[in-house]
Amino acid sequence: MKSLAELKAIRDRAKASLDLRKENPNAARVLVGMATCGIAAGARPVLNAFTEEIQKRGLTDSITVTQTGCIGICQYEPVVEVEIPGEEKVTYVKMTPEKVARVVNDHLVNKNVVTEYTIGGYTK
């Protein structure tokens, strides 16, 4: 059973490494569109896949995953925006959990945009 004692242990561990992890100004951001349109199109499994992949690779300090509203291109949902400081924002469309690993590996880690998944690649 999960106990509050266990949560206390997590707290103490987190506090010990707090200086390292909080407020990284160079953190990349993954924004998953989670308005009605995004949710209905399947944004939740996509967000979960990003969280898992980033956690699996130990990148939680350098990449934050968060939700955003509707940006007005509902027909392309699930939409994911990737923002890396100093680089142009990239919009991925029609995302699926299967596409997530490649976006994390190619784009977020190796800085190569997965052009075929982007809105430009899709509408071509």
């Binding site: 949560l7 506090k15 009605t36 209905a40 939700q67």
Partner: protein
């Protein structure tokens, strides 16, 4: 929406945008009484009577990126198509409570789905907001209150990966108990 839990995630976003700092999500199901009830209550900015009557109109939205707002209408439809009911009570400056009641055995009943995932995502993506989630069945009930967790965490953020992991497992365990699953 394929799952009611997705409607909950959607409608809870309205609470986030209403600048609530406490969102209470209550799910009560009973096979005995053949009902499922979902309520989402917040202490956000609230709405006027006129606004309340507008939000159930699909062609009303406060946002500017598009002309339709389907969140509340879809939630309402999901309840009414089972012969259930839907209700919004709101007061400016006090907050809003949205309640949907379902007839569980109705052929048009949408499954509740992964409500725990919804709660986890809401907590993870809104670490500044407190959530109180209560799930009740014929077999039992449990509550997750982030205010209690915050007290233990003493400043460590709720969106810390290990904390989210703890919350996920806690919800899983408790759900198994109230659904009468395997003994732990």
């Amino acid at each position: 929406m394929r799952e009611l839990s997705l409607n909950v995630m959607d409608v809870a976003q309205n609470s986030v945008r209403a600048e609530a700092d406490l969102v209470t999500i209550t799910v009560t199901e009973s096979d005995k009484d053949d009902l499922l009830s979902i309520s989402i209550a917040d202490n956000g900015c609230g709405m006027t009577e006129e606004q309340v009557s507008q939000v159930i109109d699909p062609f009303f939205t406060t946002r500017t990126t598009r002309k339709v707002g389907l969140g509340v209408p879809l939630f309402k439809l999901s309840a009414e198509q089972t012969g259930g009911s839907f209700d919004i009570v709101s007061q400016v400056g006090k907050g809003t409570r949205t309640t949907a009641n379902y007839v569980k055995s109705h052929v048009d009943m949408t499954p509740l789905g992964d409500i725990n995932s919804t709660v986890c995502i809401l907590i993870r993506c809104n670490p500044g907001i407190d959530f109180v989630f209560t799930h009740t069945t014929d077999k039992g009930s449990f509550t997750l209150d982030t205010r209690e967790l915050r007290e233990v965490l003493q400043g460590v953020s709720l969106d810390t990966p290990d904390v989210i992991e703890w919350i996920t497992q806690y919800l899983e365990e408790q759900t198994q108990i109230i659904y009468g699953g395997a003994e732990l």
